[in-house]
């Protein structure tokens, strides 16, 4: 198998990059490891989220804001071409605070981010009484919340399906069930093997936690680690939740999804009753009526975290033509990955301040 670009990794990052490259006329093949891989793209929460992003790296805040603003057109284009409704909604989002300490920390963090930027960074802290006007179902334990009008959410599974549907209907190739175990640069490109032999002029590593090992094969330092998040989903009910939050959102079909654990437990994607009950208790404090609802399913997935939590975008110095793209916000950033980052990988133009995201920042 041969193509101009080989994308290693068939999750949301891989297919966003593949779709975007195809959109600017490139010949692309996606290599997907299969269902034994840790599939963060199948287990994530589905937020298109701005608030709090980029604490310590203003370029990441700008990058996130820009992706959020690209999302409506991105979703429209995919819905028009595939007929798949993505359930994108960007009404703004609320991060709920259950104590004064939580509120002070949230405001300090968002103010810090705002002060580090030269562009507008809209957010406001709203106390319980006023917050109740926005979302009347909140409980008395909610001290307040930070509201950011740029936040939203989407159905991440429909997004994945739409990108694949469009990519394949335009002739994009997807190789399933192949775990790439060797990448070797040859004169005009890269030979990839993993049971089958593949050749591409350029290779883009989008394999999530697998990028660490794959990166070593092409001289890229990708020190990503797993961070577990557990999620529960409750039965479908009449839509009542007007705003998504980091912990809770009501999905397009009415089910209520609850999450936001952050656990450093290595490559373990099982759920645990202790964590599930902790996130459920917090959710009930925020929206007491959730105590009426039955849980349908729980699951866990592994976030792909770099040491500072920010993305890594880099072309290899030792092996030009080999790129790595990794981050833990593949849904939020899907729009900018597909529409902007691919222009750099495709050799058209490089986004401003791209070097902020180089993995070289982790070298001593």
């Amino acid at each position: 198998m041969e193509s101009e670009f080989a994308i290693v990794g068939g999750g949301i990052l891989g297919i966003s990059i593949a779709w975007g490259l195809q959109r600017i006329g490139r010949d692309v093949m996606v290599i997907d490891e299969g269902d034994f891989a840790f599939r963060a793209s199948r287990g994530n929460f589905g937020l298109v989220w701005v608030q709090g992003k980029g604490d310590g790296l203003p370029d990441y805040t700008r990058w996130t804001l820009r992706s959020a603003s690209l999302w409506p057109d991105f979703a429209d284009e995919l819905e028009d071409t595939t007929g798949i409704k993505l359930e994108l909604s960007q009404p703004g989002g609320i991060d709920f605070c259950l104590s004064n300490d939580e509120a002070e920390n949230a405001v300090a963090r968002l103010s810090g981010i705002r002060d580090s930027l030269s562009i507008d960074y809209p957010f406001e802290y709203i106390e319980n009484t006023e917050l109740r006007k926005l979302t009347p179902e909140i409980g008395p334990d909610v001290v307040g919340g930070t509201y950011c009008p740029k936040d939203g959410h989407v159905n991440p599974l429909y997004l994945l399906r739409a990108l694949y549907t469009d990519f394949q209907s335009r002739g994009g190739r997807v190789v399933n069930g192949v775990s790439v175990d060797k990448i070797k640069q040859e004169n005009s490109g890269f030979r990839l093997s993993g049971g089958v032999e593949m050749f591409a002029q350029k290779v883009v590593l989008c394999a999530g936690l697998g990028n660490r090992k794959l990166g070593e094969m092409v001289g890229l330092n990708v020190p990503v680690e797993p961070n577990r998040g557990q999620i529960m989903i409750c039965e479908r009910v009449i839509p009542f939740m007007r705003y998504p939050s980091v912990q809770i959102r009501q999905v397009g079909e009415g089910a209520v999804q609850i999450g936001d654990s952050k656990e450093n437990v290595g490559f373990d994607d099982r759920t645990s009753p202790e964590v599930i009950s902790r996130i459920a208790r917090r959710a009930i404090k925020i929206y007491p009526l959730l105590s009426h609802l039955r849980t349908i399913r729980t699951w866990a997935a592994l976030r792909v975290m770099s040491p500072d939590g920010f993305p890594i975008y880099q072309q290899s110095d030792a092996h030009p033509g080999a790129y790595v793209v990794t981050c833990h916000s593949g849904i939020t950033l899907a729009a900018i990955h597909a529409l902007v980052l691919t222009r750099w990988i495709g050799g058209e133009d490089q986004p401003k301040n791209l070097e902020s995201f180089s993995g070289k920042r982790f070298s001593i």
């Binding site: 479908r236 009910v237 009449i238 079909e253 009415g254 009526l289």
Partner: protein
């Protein structure tokens, strides 16, 4: 669209007959069978309307996986009819659309 709809019990169970109430009808069921099985054996061809688009849905997997058979049982909404055994006097109703999260049941 007219459809040929027929389920029958594969084993002629020797268990006691019980009556359950379904949407103002009295349904004869066999002790030990599930609500979903009893309704299908009585020719009931749908058990809810999905909140997604209002289509009629019926029990599908019969083993608690698909959630197509959600019904109201003794006033508790969104229960899986394939996972609950019939009991004398039980009142069972279809779910029409999503439940109200304010109902404390």
């Amino acid at each position: 669209m007219a459809s040929v709809f027929r389920f029958s019990r594969s084993i002629n169970r020797d268990t006691r007959l019980v009556s359950i109430q379904f949407e103002n009808q009295v349904i004869e069921a066999r002790e030990g069978e599930t609500i979903a099985a009893a309704l299908l054996a009585n020719g009931i061809d749908f058990t809810r309307k999905t909140p997604v688009n209002g289509q009629a849905r019926a029990p599908f997997c019969m083993v608690g996986t698909c959630f197509e058979c959600l019904m109201e049982v003794d006033q508790i909404p969104n229960l899986q009819a394939c996972m609950i055994e019939v009991q004398e006097g039980m009142v069972v109703g279809r779910m029409y659309g999503p439940r109200n999260p304010d109902d404390d049941t």
